[in-house]
C-alpha cells in the first residue's frame, strides 16, 4: 500500500516536475475507484531526473518483482536507461511514466493537467479528459471498466449533457 502523503511531500519538496495519473488522479476527480499505487508522469529533463532520484531514493525503490538477492542501483543513469518504471518502495508501489499512452510525454501530460491540493501540497493531476484518453489507449479490461464513470464525470463537469442528447 502506498503512503501517498510521504511520496507527495518528497516529490514536492524536491521540486520534481510531475503529474499524477492513474487511480489516484481518478479518485481526486470524484470516482469511487480503488487503487493501491501511485502513478505519475515525470519530465525526463536531466535536471528533473536528478530531482526524481533525490525525492525517491530514501524510499529505496527496486523494480517490482526484482530478485531480492540481486543488487539494484537507483540513480539518474538508471532512469536515463528506461522510460517507464514500476517500483516497489519501502512506502508502497510507485509507477514512473515518461510517457502516457494516448496523451504523450510529460509536456503533453502537463498541458492536460490541473492543480489540486492534496495533503496540503499543490500538485498537478491529469484532467478527466486526459484520463479518458489514457484509459482508452491502454485498452486493458481494467482500464475500460473505469471509462463509463469518467465519461459521466466529464459530462457533469463540462455541461456536456445537453450536447449528447
Amino acid at each position: 500500500m502506498i503512503q501517498l502523503e510521504s511520496v507527495l511531500k518528497s516529490l514536492t519538496e524536491n521540486e520534481v516536475e510531475f503529474v499524477i495519473v492513474g487511480g489516484v488522479a481518478i479518485t481526486a476527480h470524484g470516482s469511487a475507484y480503488l487503487t493501491q499505487d501511485l502513478d505519475f508522469c515525470y519530465s525526463r529533463s536531466k535536471d528533473n531526473l536528478k530531482k526524481v532520484v533525490s525525492a525517491l531514493a530514501l524510499f529505496k525503490p527496486r523494480p517490482r518483482n526484482f530478485p531480492e538477492d540481486l543488487p539494484y542501483i537507483f540513480d539518474e543513469r538508471t532512469l536515463q536507461n528506461g522510460t517507464n518504471f514500476a517500483f516497489d518502495t519501502e512506502i508502497g508501489d510507485v509507477d514512473l511514466l515518461g510517457e502516457v499512452a494516448g496523451v504523450g510525454t510529460y509536456d503533453a501530460v502537463d498541458e492536460e493537467s490541473e492543480i489540486k491540493n492534496l495533503f496540503g501540497y499543490d500538485v498537478k493531476v491529469l484532467s478527466i479528459e486526459g484520463l479518458i484518453k489514457a484509459k482508452r489507449a491502454a485498452g486493458r479490461t481494467k482500464d475500460l471498466l473505469v471509462l463509463p464513470e469518467l465519461e459521466a464525470l466529464r459530462e457533469i463537469s463540462i455541461d456536456e449533457e445537453d450536447k449528447n442528447l
Binding site: 500500500m1 470524484g30 463509463p148 459530462e155
Partner: protein
C-alpha cells in the same frame, strides 16, 4: 434552467453519459457523495480504504494460516 452536477447524477437524463454509467453498474450515489468532498478529502479517504484493505488481506491470510495449522 441549467442543472447542477449533483442534480444530473441524481436524475440522469435518458441517453446521457450519466445514464449510461448507471446502466453499466456505476453507483451514482457514491459519485454524489464523493463530489461533495474536496479532492484532498477524496484522496485521504482512498488512503484510509487502502489501509482497511491491507488489514483485511492480512487478517484473511492469518485466518487461513491458523486453519492450515489446526488441520
Amino acid at each position: 434552467m441549467k442543472r447542477t452536477p449533483e442534480e444530473k447524477l441524481l436524475n440522469p437524463k435518458p441517453g446521457s453519459k450519466v445514464a449510461a454509467a448507471q446502466e453499466f453498474g456505476i453507483d451514482l450515489s457514491l459519485l454524489v457523495k464523493n463530489l461533495r468532498l474536496t479532492p484532498d478529502q477524496r484522496v485521504r479517504n482512498l488512503q484510509s480504504a487502502m489501509v482497511g484493505l491491507e488489514e483485511l488481506i492480512r487478517a484473511s491470510k492469518q485466518t487461513r494460516k491458523k486453519g492450515d495449522d489446526t488441520t
